[in-house]
Every structure is written in structure tokens, then in C-alpha cells.
Symmetry: C2
Amino acid sequence: MDEFLEAAIEEAKKGLTEGGIPIGSVLVIDGRIVSRGHNRRVQKGSAVLHAEMDCLENAGRLKASDYRRGTLYSTLSPCDMCSGAVLLYGIPKVIIGENRTFLGPEDYLRSRGVQTIVVNNRECCQLMKKFINEHPELWNEDIGR
Amino acid sequence: MDEFLEAAIEEAKKGLTEGGIPIGSVLVIDGRIVSRGHNRRVQKGSAVLHAEMDCLENAGRLKASDYRRGTLYSTLSPCDMCSGAVLLYGIPKVIIGENRTFLGPEDYLRSRGVQTIVVNNRECCQLMKKFINEHPELWNEDIGR
């Protein structure tokens, strides 16, 4: 498996062991992971730290030219907020673990020129299916439902 | 002037006195301000805490039914990320101080059913014009340019 997606899955599992929602993300620039993150809704009582946002936050203040060479990995299809962050910073490529348990605005990302690839990874899907089944209310809160 | 926009402007000014980017936001539910925020890029070294995001984060974990009754005020036209957060949580209404110094995806918000109103407030505009003139590199960083 892609080592970067593997790192994102590690982040998702870390979130799960903390009692959080198992979604992970890494930002790769020039073939190197520059930042990692996972959903912190439970851990930090956060409404904005989805995995991708946590990853971008942990990356700190990067230059526009850094983002422009970046690939954002996420174990789950990015929601409207996280997709918006990708657009804000002009990140040109997103690799998505799965989009079966949740489908974000992937077509909109593509229409705005972001290369958006879904790999349909079984482990990503199983992590979310189990979590949603066990904590539906928490999951709904995370996606504003 | 609208007391809620006035509160958002107060937040913008608070940001400025902290050495930050002068953009403020408040979230109003049932005619009451439930949360306030301002851009924290400089103050917290944050890549995600735009004013609207800071405001949503300060609101804590709300219910979907709370967001659905909300109006988000911002002194400046929300960027892709902040607009995405509005869509994620299904906030039905956004009041924008000005969109002359920066124009976010307002038409996209409208196409997704968000009532989006621009009031073209002179003070909001002057705050940003002065800031952009004095700190162009910081402003460009904040919008991924």
C-alpha cells in the first residue's frame, strides 16, 4: 500500500485509541510527510479540527509555494470545510482512502482543478463503518447532521 | 448599524491590536450572539483559524439544529475554507461586511442555498485596505497566494 495512505490510517487509529473519530490525514510535499493529523472533535471539543484541518494546522504557516507542491491524503472523502481548505491553499492533489461511508464534494474539487483520487481502501472503510455503527450520534455531529 | 456586524467589527479591531489580521466574526442564534472570533494566524501561528473558523471553534460542539437556526457574520467575504464550514454545518445565512478587498465564493454559497448578504460597510473595508497596504505579504499568506 501507498506509505502515505498508511501513515494517514495510522493517524486514524491513533484518534480511535484516544476515544475520537477514526479519520486521519497527512500532507506530503516533495515526497516527504511534512504534517500529520487526525479528527479531534472529541479530544479537543473542536468543531473545526477534522483530520485534514488538524493536519494543515499542525503544518503551521507554510508558504503558498509549499502548498502548491502538496498532496493531501485523507482516509475519508473530505467534507465541504476540508475541501474548502484545499481550495484556499491551492493544494493541487488529494488522495482519498474511501468515499463509501461519506461522500464530500469531490466533483466540485475536480471542477476547481484539484486532482482527486479515490483508492477505496478496505481498512479505511471498515474503520468508519464500525465507528458509525457504534457511535451514530457522534458521527452525525461531525458532519453537521 | 446592525449590532451584530458591530460586534464582528469589534472582533476585527481586537485582532488588529493583538498584531493580527483585522477580520472578525460572530455567530448569532435566535437573536443572540453565541460566539465571537477573529483571525488568529499571527497570534497562534494558525493556518486554519480565520475569523469565521475561530468563531465556530469558540462556539464549541453545537447541535445540527443549533447551526440550522444560525446566522454567521463576518467583516469580510468568507474564503473557500470558511464558506465550506458554513456548508458543512448547514448555517442558512451569512452577513458579510464587505467583499471589495477580497471576494470569496459567494455565488457558490448561494447556489447551495445559503442566504448571502453583503452590506458593504465602510469601516470593514477601510480596516482591510489599510492592513493589506501595510502588510501585503501577511495578507497574501492568509489567502494562500
